[in-house]
Symmetry: C2
Subunit: 104 residues, 2 copies
Amino acid sequence: MKLSNYSKIFKALSNEQRLNIFMMVYKQCCVPKGGKESSCCPGGGSVRGAFTKTCGCMDLSKSTISHHFKELQNAGLITCEREGQTFRCRINEEAVDSIKKFFE
Amino acid sequence: MKLSNYSKIFKALSNEQRLNIFMMVYKQCCVPKGGKESSCCPGGGSVRGAFTKTCGCMDLSKSTISHHFKELQNAGLITCEREGQTFRCRINEEAVDSIKKFFE
DNA sequence: TCTATTATTCGATAACATTCGAACTATATA
DNA sequence: TATATAGTTCGAATGTTATCGAATAATAGA
């Protein structure tokens, strides 16, 4: 992976609000081994209605939150797929693995 | 470690030039186990004349490079100590460990 | 097809980042 | 003490990012 891709990833995580969004998705996607699945993640590994949830618990306008989701997607950190009126979000494990490798 | 500290670290690494500087220090500080020490790192773990070296291999003005070193220090990623006319740089292992933990 | 809900796009604005060159400070050495 | 080398600070130009509200588009359901 090129250095410029890494800097893109770090840029996406450099804004505190956006990092917060990333973390909410990240935590909910990581069903601990042997642990219970959370209600938002049937099947584990993805978050239903991530955007709506985020709007509900962050003090930012919808448009700003939409922008932050786009940035996280552009950096390759998450993927989102439409599911009716809302979106289902998933962490891109590859990106996370790349970061881990970066610091080895 | 607070989320805002993480975003500071990621911000420091979000600029490609700065990431480049960080990597040069990082690589030179990490003497592989059983490997030879590099000439810049007698004793291992630190880089002698890091600023001067960086100036020599990056297409940026001294003042800009100085600024980037400051940013890396402010984020707690590296420390620099004067050594005569030049500086000796060291990676802050704690910061790196924090990032690793962040993605566990 | 009408309406409510959900999310995106647009245009504006304010704040912040990157970069430079010039002037300056710190240190070593002749 | 004069000079060379190394690095910092300052002010300015330029570019990028975060944020909002309003207008718009997509979807579900009545």
